[in-house]
Structure formats: structure tokens, C-alpha cells
């Protein structure tokens, strides 16, 4: 089911703006990750969608229906909390069945239907036979899956996940991530995931919504964000960057460092910043001293001058000019006061 956020804003108790005019549309079946540094407003936005916090302005529509005035309990969305928020006094099975047992009598499935739904979910979560255990007896990864099963028991059309992998160790994290994506596809869910880990978001989501300071900076598929970052923040957030200051004069970006080559651009004159991924830099013969650094992950690393690090794929490393180098920045992005002004 589609989710439409229109001009959502929210102020905290002290009056500070923690969500500032956020609009975002999420298609049915889409997997969207809300990313950004801590304090960007991702969790606040998720809580507004769930109905746990009230927005001070704007509307939340789910499948064309305005949910803004409905409390969380009436929205019927699945929500997985950062620390799982499992009910410690209830068994795993009772945790999962909770959403079904609190349904009004007329809608509530029979005891046997609930039991078989619980078993079905335990199998789906790869926790067969653990229904009688208590949450305290499970590992972190198992608790996470119980929380997911509990959220899915009532077959919510939309699943909201708040940093669900935060408390897991890195190995478990990686495997549960792909498993979650498979689950999303298998159940035909619409999923919104909050994470501060851009790598995780790039790996799992169809689309990323990058947030900063309560605002939505840019939303788009990973390759779109990579190809056309709207701001220097988006570019920075999504990976390692090299930042070269300079100025545009007569259709040419002239970098400040002497060892970087000018780049022909199509923008007006003025100061500008060029940002580029270390592996997008080409090394050509030039004046700068080249210091080899460690090789890692298929890239040979070099330091050029005294600040810039360049990653060169190992298989072309023999073409690096050892006598002295200059930077070819032809694949970089140009920004002025933080905003993208051109792709070169």
C-alpha cells in the first residue's frame, strides 16, 4: 500500500523544529530507507507515520486515506522498535499473538487460528519450536525476528522498522539484512526502514531518502543519488569523498591545488567545490609527489600532495605515473554553497 507524506512538520516540546516540511511518496511494494546522521529526524518521521508522535503540520496518507487524525492503534501498521520492545512477561508465542488477541471479538480469529498463525510465523522467522520460550532466553538476532513476527502477525500492509539491526553484531547484521529483503519481497510488503548506516541502506533498499536537520534532502534509487547528488551532504553521506576547492572562470573549473587539472564545465563564474570519489580520480603525469599507501579491497591507495588520497584499481595500478602525478577530476561533481550546480 502506498504511503504519502505531505509537508510533514513537527516541533518538540521546547518548540524546536525536528521535522521541517517533509514530503515523500512511497509506492506499494517499495522498500525505502530513511538515512541520515543521528538527529536528522528519521526516527521522528517514522514515529509520525506510525501515529506514535503527532505532527504539527502536514498529512500522512496511506493508500489514499488520510491517517493524520488516527491514533497508532487504529492505523494497523507494523512497527519494529530499535530495542525490539518485546513483552518480557509473555512467551514468544504470546508476544507474536498479541496483535491478534487484542482485536475486537468480532474480528478476532479463533484460538486455533491464532495458534496456527503463530506457528506459521515462527517457521517463517526460522524459530520453529521456540514459542514457549521467554524473550530473555533468546539471542539478540532471535529477539529481533520475534519482534518482526509480532509486527507481521496481523498482516499489516506497511512495515516500519526503526534501526532494527542496531543492536546486532556485524556478522548477524549482514545475514539478517538479506533475509529481511527476501521477506519483504515474498510477503509483498511496503517497508520503511530507518538506519544511520548508508552501506546497509544501499544494500537493502529500492530507494533512499536522505535526511539532515529535519529536512528531506534527496530521495532516489542508490544509482541516481550516486550519479546526481543534490547536495554536497548527500555526496558526503553516501561514501568517501575527496573535496577540492576552486573557482569557475569562463567555463573552466580551476582547482586550487596545483596538482589538479582544470575541468571544462558549463556553469557561471564564481567559487565552487568539486567533490569526487577517490576511485573516480584518474592519475596522470604531473608535478605532485606520489606516496604509496596500503592496498586494500582491490584498490591501491596513494597520497597525492599532502592531503588527497586516491584509490586506483589494482589491475590498472601499473599505469600510475611514478615520477610525479596530477589529478584528472573529470568524473567529479561541482557544488556551490553546498548545492549541486552541475555534473561535469
Amino acid at each position: 500500500m502506498s504511503v504519502r507524506l505531505d509537508a510533514i512538520s513537527r516541533r518538540n516540546a521546547a518548540g524546536g523544529l525536528i521535522l521541517d516540511d517533509v514530503s515523500l511518496e512511497i509506492e506499494t511494494g517499495e522498500f525505502v530507507a530513511l538515512v541520515g546522521p543521528s538527529g536528522a529526524g528519521k526516527t521522528s518521521l517514522l514515529r509520525v507515520i506510525a501515529g506514535l508522535d503527532a505532527q504539527s503540520g502536514g498529512t500522512v496518507e496511506i493508500d489514499g486515506r488520510d491517517m493524520s487524525a488516527l491514533p497508532a492503534r487504529a492505523r494497523g501498521l507494523g512497527f519494529v522498535f530499535q530495542n525490539y520492545a518485546l513483552f518480557g512477561h509473555l512467551s514468544v508465542a504470546a508476544n507474536i499473538a498479541f496483535g491478534l488477541r487484542v482485536l475486537p471479538r468480532s474480528l478476532r480469529p479463533s484460538r486455533s487460528e491464532i495458534a496456527s498463525r503463530v506457528d506459521e510465523l515462527l517457521d517463517l522467522m526460522q524459530l520453529p519450536g521456540r514459542g514457549r520460550d521467554f524473550p530473555a532466553q533468546l539471542s539478540g538476532g532471535q529477539r529481533q525476528r520475534v519482534a518482526l513476527a509480532r509486527a507481521l502477525a496481523t498482516r499489516p500492509p506497511v512495515l516500519l522498522l526503526d534501526e532494527p539491526f542496531g543492536a546486532l553484531d556485524p556478522m548477524v547484521r549482514k545475514s539478517i539484512r538479506t533475509w529481511l529483503r527476501d521477506l519483504h519481497d515474498k510477503l509483498g510488503l511496503t517497508t520503511i526502514l530507518v538506519t544511520h548506516d548508508q552501506q546497509e541502506a544501499l544494500e537493502i533498499a529500492d530507494r533512499l531518502a536522505v535526511m539532515a536537520d529535519g529536512q528531506l534532502v534527496q530521495a532516489g534509487a542508490p544509482d541516481l543519488l550516486e550519479a546526481r547528488p543534490a547536495t554536497s551532504f548527500v555526496m558526503d553521506f553516501l561514501g568517501d569523498t575527496v573535496r577540492i576547492e576552486g573557482a569557475v572562470r569562463g567555463g573552466v573549473f580551476e582547482p586550487e591545488p596545483a596538482f589538479a587539472l582544470p575541468v571544462a564545465v558549463n556553469v557561471s563564474d564564481g567559487p565552487a567545490t568539486l567533490m569526487i570519489r577517490p576511485h573516480d580520480i584518474d592519475l596522470v603525469t604531473g608535478p605532485a609527489v606520489l606516496t604509496p599507501l596500503a592496498t586494500h579491497g582491490g584498490f591501491a591507495r596513494y597520497r597525492v600532495g599532502d592531503a588527497v588520497t586516491v584509490h586506483v584499481p589494482v589491475h590498472v595500478a601499473d599505469r600510475v605515473p611514478v615520477t610525479g602525478a596530477a589529478l584528472d577530476l573529470g568524473r567529479g561533481h561541482l557544488f556551490r554553497s553546498g548545492k549541486s550546480i552541475n555534473t561535469i
Partner: protein, 276 residues
């Protein structure tokens, strides 16, 4: 009995152990030994005789019965106060938190004469109640009122920290799963308080069973009706019936030990709830 196995390398173990054992032995173990041995000084028969004295049985019934009722009433009242102090944070909750401590700090004879006056036939509460035909002071109900007063701090102090530390996410999770406010209260908020509630009940009950000072002024102290067991100890001693007094004392001691053990066992029963 005591030997050091894995102590650190701190100096002073022997000294601290010796002083603690001497102190504990002199002040606690020594008198308790007398209490345990004395009832059997003349063989088992006098003890059994004292034990099946109908007046003692009636006093035990009064003590345990009114302690149970008082602790049971204290439980919801204490929950309300704890909720008001740590959750609702009602206006003046800090003051309320301090007031809860008053029954603990107030000397029992002060509470005793005060409650007797307050609920007496001409007291602030007693007079209107008498008007309604309810007699509290100098009747069994007075015992319950006094025991409620001394017991309520234990309930609030046991429940408040658990309530304060309950994660808000649990309630939010219940909401996202569709639970109504009352379902959230009954299924998510209150059940985790059960272990603390049992502890609270046990502590209030244990205190109430042995309570003396705050009760004797208000109880009326009629044998077989409103005479509590601790008072019977005092009466037996005044009659120089040491064996009889010791028998009652030993039963009260055993009762408190049983309550302590039961509390420990109950707490262990709920260990699998902890830290989800």
C-alpha cells in the same frame, strides 16, 4: 562456616570478618538462640500446651487476618501513589514521594495514639464514620487501618522503581499492535509489576504481622476479638509466663522466616521475565 575462597588481595579480611561475626553473634544470634531454645526448656509438652491455647490461636488469627487484609488493600493504594509519583508526575509529586516515607519515620507509639484519636469516636475521621454507623477505632477495623498506615511505604517503595524503569516502548509497541488504552494497561503495563507487587505484599504483610506500637492504642485489645499476637507476648511476660511468651514469640519468628523464604522463592519464579 565461613572461609575465604576467592577473596581479593585487600588487607583486613580477618579483622572485618571477626568484628562482623562478634557483632552479629552478640546482638542477633545470641538472643535468637535463647528465643528458639527457651520454649522447649521444660520439654515439648508446655510448648504444645501454650501453642494450642485458644486465646493464642485467636490472637494469631487476628494478627494474620488483619495483616493480610491491610496488605491487600495497600497494594492498589500503593500502586496509585507510585503511579502518581513516578509516572503521572502529578503536581507536588516530590512532596508526595517524601510523605510516603512518614509512616516509616514516625515512631509507632506516635502513630498509635494519633490513629486512635483520628479514628476515635470524636476524631476527624472517626466522628463522620460513627455517624454512618461504622466503628473503626477500638474494633478489628482499627487494626487494619493502623496496619495499612505502617505498610503502605513498603508497597510504594517496591513498585515505584519498577514502574519508573518500565520502557515506554512497550506501551508504544502495544499501541502499534492495536491495543486499546485499557488493554495496554492490563496486558502490558500491570503484569510486569507482578513480582514487585508480590514483594510489596510480602513486606507489608511481614511488617504488619509483627506490628505492635501503632496497633495497640487503636485495637481495643479484647481477647479473642481484637487482641494481636505481639500483644499476647507482652501480656504473657507481664504474667511472668516466660514459656508462654516464648512460644508466641517463636511462632511469630517462624512466620517471618516463612514469609522471607516464600518471597525469595517467588522472586526466583519470575527470573525468566527479567531483561527482555
Amino acid at each position: 562456616m565461613v572461609s575465604r575462597t576467592a577473596a581479593g588481595h585487600l588487607p583486613g579480611f580477618r579483622l572485618a570478618l571477626a568484628s562482623t561475626l562478634v557483632w552479629l553473634g552478640l546482638i542477633v544470634a545470641f538472643p535468637l538462640a535463647a528465643l528458639i531454645a527457651r520454649p522447649f526448656a521444660g520439654g515439648l509438652h508446655p510448648f504444645m500446651h501454650a501453642l494450642f491455647d485458644p486465646r493464642l490461636l485467636a490472637a494469631l488469627r487476628v494478627s494474620f487476618g488483619s495483616a493480610f487484609v491491610a496488605a491487600a488493600i495497600d497494594l492498589p493504594l500503593g500502586l496509585l501513589l507510585a503511579w502518581a509519583v513516578v509516572r503521572a508526575k502529578v503536581p507536588g509529586h516530590r512532596l508526595m514521594d517524601a510523605l510516603v516515607e512518614l509512616p516509616l519515620a514516625l515512631p509507632t507509639s506516635v502513630s498509635g495514639i494519633t490513629l486512635a484519636t483520628l479514628y476515635g469516636p470524636r476524631g476527624w475521621f472517626g466522628a463522620p464514620l460513627a455517624h454512618l454507623g461504622l466503628k473503626v477505632a477500638f474494633a478489628p477495623a482499627g487494626i487494619v487501618v493502623a496496619l495499612m498506615f505502617v505498610g503502605i511505604p513498603f508497597v510504594v517503595r517496591s513498585i515505584a522503581p519498577v514502574l519508573a524503569n518500565a520502557p515506554v516502548e512497550l506501551e508504544e509497541a502495544a499501541q502499534t499492535l492495536g491495543a486499546s488504552r485499557s488493554q495496554t494497561l492490563w496486558r502490558v503495563v500491570l503484569p510486569p509489576l507482578l513480582p514487585a507487587g508480590l514483594t510489596a505484599f510480602g513486606l507489608a504483610f511481614a511488617r504488619a504481622v509483627g506490628e505492635y506500637g501503632s496497633v495497640i492504642f487503636i485495637a481495643g485489645n479484647q481477647p479473642f476479638r481484637s487482641e494481636i499476637a505481639p500483644l499476647l507476648v507482652v501480656i504473657r511476660l507481664q504474667e511472668f509466663d516466660y514459656a508462654g511468651g516464648a512460644a508466641v514469640g517463636l511462632i511469630l519468628l517462624l512466620a517471618s522466616l516463612v514469609i522471607l523464604l516464600a518471597l525469595g522463592a517467588l522472586r526466583r519464579r519470575f527470573h525468566h521475565w527479567i531483561a527482555a
